[in-house]
Amino acid sequence: MDGMKRVPVREQEPKVRAKNFEEVCLGYNEEEAVAEAKRCLQCKNARCMSGCPVSINIPGFIKEVAEGNFAAAAKVIAESSALPAICGRVCPQETQCEGVCIRGIKGEPVAIGKLERFVADWSREHGIVPEKPEKTNGKKVAVIGSGPSGLTCAGDLAKMGYEVTIFEALHEAGGVLTYGIPEFRLPKETVVRAEIENVKKLGVTIETDVVVGKSVTIDDLMEQEGFRAVFIGSGAGLPKFMGIPGENANGVFSANEYLTRSNLMKAFRDDYDTPIAAGKKVAVVGGGNVAMDAARTALRLGADVHIVYRRSEAELPARAEEVHHAKEEGIIFNLLTNPVEILTDENGWVKGMVVRKMELGEPDASGRRRPVEIPGSDYVIDVDTVIMSLGTSPNPLISSTTKGLETNRWKCIVADEHNGKTTKEGVYAGGDAVTGAATVILAMEAGKAGARGIHQFLSGE
């Protein structure tokens, strides 16, 4: 076998998967995983580990896979990550572990993400569950939000012996893993629920239907309910809109709404009550992972889909794999294009979108070349649905109801990135509530940091 190339991973055919919600990537089998693991050079100074936000012992677990010791590999990963089946699927490996892999200099980097996923799936299928600590230390910690940062923080603290309760605002745990990332990229029942169950098996309690800031405040949790410390992992927040004419027309959605209806409320299934206006011709505005998720969901609901993005392909913030999959499935990319108005019919429904062509100018503060409008280039795209995927702004529910919790000028919670410490004693924070919208793995890194900070605080008491 050519050592320069990675073992290809099996996927559903684009034409087939464009019509279903089954997972796109089928993952490695045992044979493929062992073959791919053997490509790892077992570097002494493993650069991949420093590329991993949660510092998984990557050569360590890959060595076990290469030798066929899958249970041992799972143990190595579990030292650092509680959500490997999720990370193996949604991490941007190409800019993290795989991006610095020595194998990648001359050929293709080791498929670390696919191997992680294999190990996690294998251990789930073989009934391997994490061990609950023998006894707790009796100290109660509250975690707000059951997304990636909250689950990670809760899992780490439970392993250290804390009694952890997660408070979740929605009716299902998982945060963005449940309401945001679609089934075809991250299966809910087999992967997300299973990993949440694993966190619960560590002794973590999850109370759903509690909106902290409304149902109960952080001060009440600490003063009346006996929680000695709190970790805020409440996630991103309120969807942004462009502020262009016609944006409140029927048929204009935030990506959050569109995805929540489909993923959390299961509107794509006819046996669930929640409706979704899927659309026949859909434009998704934005170029991030969420935009790709919304576009590929609309496609599976039967629509012709355009991605409308104001910069060029090189600047697309989405993971390369998502863009590649979207193209394969037949999504049309209108790049260097920016919406200026949404046209409506007499009943207030979308009937088209006026867009303007752009060109790239000088680099802006983000280092990306700034898109500049080309005068007189407006034209109309024929669409009946527009999905805005422009990011989010922080949710004020917690910051406005917690005394002494400072926010920065973007209204994000101020927290130390090394230990999650906020301006309020005993309160720690991490994930999108602190950084603004980022990735699952960065939120997990922040959850780990928060757990360390809380442990330092409570063990020093």
Partner: protein
């Protein structure tokens, strides 16, 4: 799981339910709402809080059936459970932050239309508990659809009931009563609070603007999560786009763009809206349509 402790049919398609939800009952205030999900496959349905008992840990809601989710909801009997009952959501009415002594110098008029009687009740009750009499107009299509009359009578100052067909109380729309009270019966009001169908709130606001009475309305648009995440409940207030769930649900009625809000509400909530969806989408139409719930 949240246990239903009392269930009562108030009128055709209108039901009252008292639900054990200690966290909500402990902190809720007039003006706020809850989201209720009957079972695994149900919709998340926003409902305004009608009453609460902090000691018993219960919250009372009033539901009007409009589709599959609300039908399944009202079939639940006392002793059975709702899968989810989350809240309180939204912001309390502005007056609860005011000094009750200063409020005594202001005259409030509440205008409740149909199901809107339910969310008006805890507000009127709040004033009553603070020793302030407010006037209340309750409007309904016909006598049988007047709800909570006895409860309202016990807490209101003057209570005026009006029915469209004149089968009970005065005859005509609530706007006619407002006009009569102010122009012909010598009443003066400093603030009006109008809660009911959007079309009623729109016309009350047109009138009170003319009469120079500042008016608060409670908006009940389409919602999914109710915590700010989805943006489905956005509406235009003055020059700004607001989210009813985190910025409201109560707004200055003279600034709300009701025409836009009513169009948006059509989308999934009315048979007409659902029919338009079916027509526009044809074979790509998905999910629950024709039997989706939501408050009228």
């Amino acid at each position: 799981m949240f246990q239903i402790v009392r269930s009562e049919k108030l009128a055709d398609k209108i039901y009252l339910m008292e639900v054990k939800a200690p966290r909500v009952a402990k902190t809720c205030q007039p003006g706020e709402f809850v989201i209720v999900k009957t079972d695994e496959k149900g919709e998340r349905i926003p409902l305004t809080i009608c009453d609460f008992d902090r000691e018993a840990g219960t919250v009372t809601i009033v539901i009007q059936t409009v589709g599959a989710s609300t039908e399944r909801m009202v079939q639940k009997q006392a002793g059975e459970y709702f899968q989810d009952f989350v809240g309180p959501l939204g912001n309390p009415s502005d007056f609860i932050k005011e000094n009750p002594e200063e409020l005594k110098g202001k005259k409030y008029l509440f205008v409740a239309g149909g199901l809107g009687t339910a969310p008006v009740y805890p507000q009127v009750k709040w004033f009553h508990e603070h020793g302030i009499d407010v006037d209340v107009i309750v409007g309904a299509k016909t006598k049988d659809l007047v709800i909570m009359e006895e409860e309202m009578k016990a807490v209101a100052g003057n209570l005026y009931i009006t029915t469209d067909d004149g089968s009970y109380g005065r005859k005509g729309m609530v706007t006619e009563v407002v006009k009569d009270l102010v122009e012909n019966e010598g009443h003066h009001y400093d603030v009006c609070v109008a809660i009911g169908p959007m079309i009623m709130m729109k016309f009350v606001c047109l009138l009170t603007k003319e009469l120079g009475i500042p008016t608060i309305v409670s908006m009940n648009p389409i919602m999914v999560d109710g915590t700010g995440m989805c943006g489905a409940c956005r509406l235009t207030v003055g020059d700004e786009v607001k989210f009813a769930c985190v910025d409201g649900p109560e707004f200055d009625g003279h600034l709300v763009n009701f025409d836009e809000a009513m169009k948006r509400q059509q989308m999934y909530k009315t048979e007409e809206g659902r029919a338009i969806l079916r027509l526009r989408e044809g074979d790509t139409h998905h999910g629950g349509c024709g039997h989706c719930g939501g408050e009228d």
